[in-house]
């Protein structure tokens, strides 16, 4: 009898423990996802000298749910603009990673990457005169993660401080006149995130009007904007903004 009861109790406890840990991991996933989305939106709005704090829940129940990491821009290799993310460790979500790179939120799982929230890297709008489109405005806004590399795991929430160390335009029109005939943008991103960025470029081309003459080459991650006019005529107002952000543990 004692054997039967013990066996039953062990089975029930193990099932309960598995369900509880799945619930806790789910809670942590929701929380990390929401916090990274907040980080993305607030980084996009950051200007010179501004700062904000975010608290990350890194635990699932009483144990660390994974690793929060920051890999800064690699200027020597020029391979990417810096990334930060969270890699889960646990029964249900082993290996799942959420990455924030150049304003995009990406999910890495089982060797593939998926775009959870597209970046605001490229924006386009018409400059109209008397109701008719005259010029095309193209805004490119890069978000660079700088500072030292770190990773941490914790059984309690951790606060990160995001500080904008510089925010400036590398290129912009002068006297409100178009400065480009066309724009060719080649994305420098981490190799494991390339599939997600391909999806971003495809999405971008699909939502923009065809008369902007925007095309993407997914193989080289290149976006080309030809604008309204044929070669030889500058009809694009091109703005290239770079915002550099330092991420630190408080």
């Amino acid at each position: 009898m004692i054997g039967i009861f013990t066996g039953l109790a062990v089975t029930l406890y193990s099932a309960y423990s598995r369900a509880a840990s799945r619930g806790e991991e789910g809670e942590t996933l929701n929380s990390v996802l929401a916090t990274l989305l907040q980080a993305k939106e607030r980084m996009e709005a950051l200007e010179n000298g501004e700062t904000f704090l975010l608290s990350f829940k890194l635990n699932a129940g009483g144990r660390a749910a994974g690793t929060l990491w920051v890999k800064p821009e690699n200027r020597a290799k020029s391979e990417n603009l810096g990334r930060m993310g969270f890699t889960f460790r646990g029964m249900e979500m082993e290996g799942l990673t959420l990455v924030l790179e150049d304003g995009a939120l990406i999910r890495l799982s089982g060797g593939s990457s998926d775009l959870l929230s597209p970046s605001s890297l490229v924006g386009m709008s018409e400059v109209r005169e008397n109701g008719q489109p005259r010029w095309l405005r193209v805004d490119v806004h890069h978000l660079v993660v700088e500072n030292y590399e770190f990773q941490l795991a914790s059984t309690s929430p951790v606060s990160l401080r995001f500080t904008c160390t510089s925010d400036n335009y590398r290129e912009k029109p002068e006297n409100g006149r178009p400065n480009r005939e066309n724009v060719v943008l080649r994305l420098e991103v981490s190799a494991e995130d390339r599939e997600a960025w391909r999806k971003y470029l495809t999405y971008l081309v699909s939502v923009l009007p065809p008369y902007y003459r925007v095309s993407a080459d997914p193989a080289t991650l290149t976006l080309t904007v030809l604008g309204f006019e044929d070669p030889g005529v500058k009809d694009i107002l091109y703005y290239e903004r770079w915002t550099r952000v330092r991420v630190e543990v408080v």
Partner: protein, 263 residues
């Protein structure tokens, strides 16, 4: 000694049987109540997300983005899943005027299944065969300028993106990106319209809900003395002066295009 052993075994068996009977009696209603509360919680959360979505849709400037997280299934109780996974989709018919829509469909076990839809800046609830605009859009705004003159502003919201359908138990994300906003019609120094026609034909999918909404809007505008009439999916606002040939409306038409990404 032998008798004591038999009594213990019988007593333990009876106890186990009693426990199993109690479990069989109380577990189903308990799981049912867990299912109900899970469904209710999820429905409230989803409605709240749609409310935020609608608010942000009108706040979003060109180049800005906002992301929302949708719960796709009620939380499980122990190892018992208390509901199915919802379906979140974005769809647009490839017609020039279609508004495009985000649809969240949930097949529930205890409460009636429901679908929430964001289209044309409003939120429509469909339950059974009935549909209703539960969060109306800011489609027509009017301002009395005095001297029988009225400013009428109509705002069209278009959702664009790739047609996508997501169904899973984990959270789904929806990102809105402000792509374009401008006035397609505006009045300068004098009235530019005798009447304004708002025509939703071919732009929306839930015709009945939008038809009823336009009737409510008509009544509201008439209460302000703006002589409105509604027929099907067309609303006409004539303003305070209905004499043909007299322009008494400053008419502004605003156009907003928002990109949608689901994952």
């Amino acid at each position: 000694m032998m008798e004591r052993g038999v009594v213990t075994v019988v007593a333990a068996t009876v106890l186990v049987l009693l426990a199993v009977m109690a479990l069989a009696l109380f577990l189903p209603p308990f799981l049912e109540s867990q299912t109900k509360s899970g469904e209710m919680k999820q429905a409230e959360e989803v409605r709240e997300v749609f409310s935020q979505l609608q608010t942000e849709l009108y706040r979003l400037s060109q180049g800005e983005s906002r992301t929302f997280v949708f719960p796709m299934a009620p939380s499980s109780f122990f190892l018992y899943p208390t509901g199915n996974a919802a379906t979140l989709s974005f769809g647009a018919r490839w017609t020039e005027n279609d508004f495009g829509r985000v649809t969240y469909s949930m097949t529930t076990r205890s409460y009636p299944s429901y679908t929430l839809v964001l289209e044309g800046g409003g939120v429509v609830l469909e339950q059974g065969r009935r549909s209703l605009v539960i969060l109306p859009p800011f489609l027509v705004r009017t301002l009395d300028l005095g001297d029988n003159l009225v400013r009428v502003e109509v705002e069209w919201i278009y959702l664009v993106g790739e047609n996508v359908r997501v169904s899973k138990r984990g959270p789904a994300t929806l990102t809105l990106q402000g792509l374009e906003e401008r006035y397609s019609v505006w009045a300068e120094n004098e009235p530019n319209a005798e009447n304004v026609v708002v025509d939703l034909t071919g732009r929306v999918e839930y015709d009945n809900a939008w038809g009823r909404y336009l009737q409510e809007l008509r009544d509201e505008l008439n209460a302000r003395g703006l002589n409105a009439s509604a027929s099907g999916l067309r609303l006409t606002v004539s303003g305070k002066v209905t004499t043909p040939g007299i322009k008494d409306l400053y008419y502004f038409e605003r156009y907003r295009k928002v990109g949608v990404w689901l994952a």
